[in-house]
Symmetry: C2
Subunit: 155 residues, 2 copies
Amino acid sequence: MEAKRMSRKQEDMALLLGNQICFAAYSTAHAFNRVYKPLLDTLGLTYPQYLVMLVLWERDGLAVNEVGELLHLDSGTLTPLFKRLEAARLVTRTRNPEDERQVRIRLTAAGRELREKAKNVPPGILRACNRSVDELMKLKDQFVALRDQLNAALG
Amino acid sequence: MEAKRMSRKQEDMALLLGNQICFAAYSTAHAFNRVYKPLLDTLGLTYPQYLVMLVLWERDGLAVNEVGELLHLDSGTLTPLFKRLEAARLVTRTRNPEDERQVRIRLTAAGRELREKAKNVPPGILRACNRSVDELMKLKDQFVALRDQLNAALG
DNA sequence: CTCGATTACATTGCATGCAATTATATTGTA
DNA sequence: TACAATATAATTGCATGCAATGTAATCGAG
């Protein structure tokens, strides 16, 4: 099983691509962040905080590491983030009596109510993307497949 | 011109998508970062520092704002980054005599030499992606088109 | 049951990103 | 030429991300 021979120019292009594909992902993520910013400002949330709230709105009372697995984030990021959400009175942090190592994150009433305000966010994002739902769905699936492949390559 | 009516379930899915497309980009960018990390560690560079070096290897002597435009980064990010590259003796920072507001970034000999070592990086990335060059090229173009659309939606 | 391994979270240190502000230099205009 | 507007970096403050380390709780092999 031998790969087809590439010309020197094709090889150079392939090498450039190795850099470009990552920069494309990197700069797209930042562009999304800029679009989200004004929308999330009205909620008083940063984008990672918004992600955490999305998780909690679906499944309240998760432990820190459970949220971390869903979002690919560790305690070094999440502990201070949850402390800020706690200071904002959106969540409470309590040790799990069943397992004192775990800290359960629970929404406060204010945290639950914020969900209503947050309903404006996705339509704003979809509008900014200026693409059909079908197109975006396909694009998202390609992102996710690539991401999972990259994570698999680490293991 | 009226959009087709969507069922409630379809609407919910569309709203979820607004969140999912961004998270897909966000988590893909982080996955890339994790793949790059061990490769860049051998160069003593972080990913943003590597991006800056890629730019300088192509066009030495750019001003801070010119690099910033190419990478979508501002002086708040780049000034400390360049100072660290300067401390690592990879670049020099000198005011442009023609326009004292600008700071020109120039590679040192060591900075230019690092380019050889850096040739190993893109193949490692391409391997981790586990996709044909053609596939990756298309994916990259889709990323870029979405990113440009998002940036346009801000203006 | 016991003690080493593992797990979960917290902490520290470092490097982004970005908003907001400041300082300095240049440009444009009356 | 004066001087307001603009442009370029630098600085400050805040919030990630992540590696490395610390601490306490739990698990598991013998």
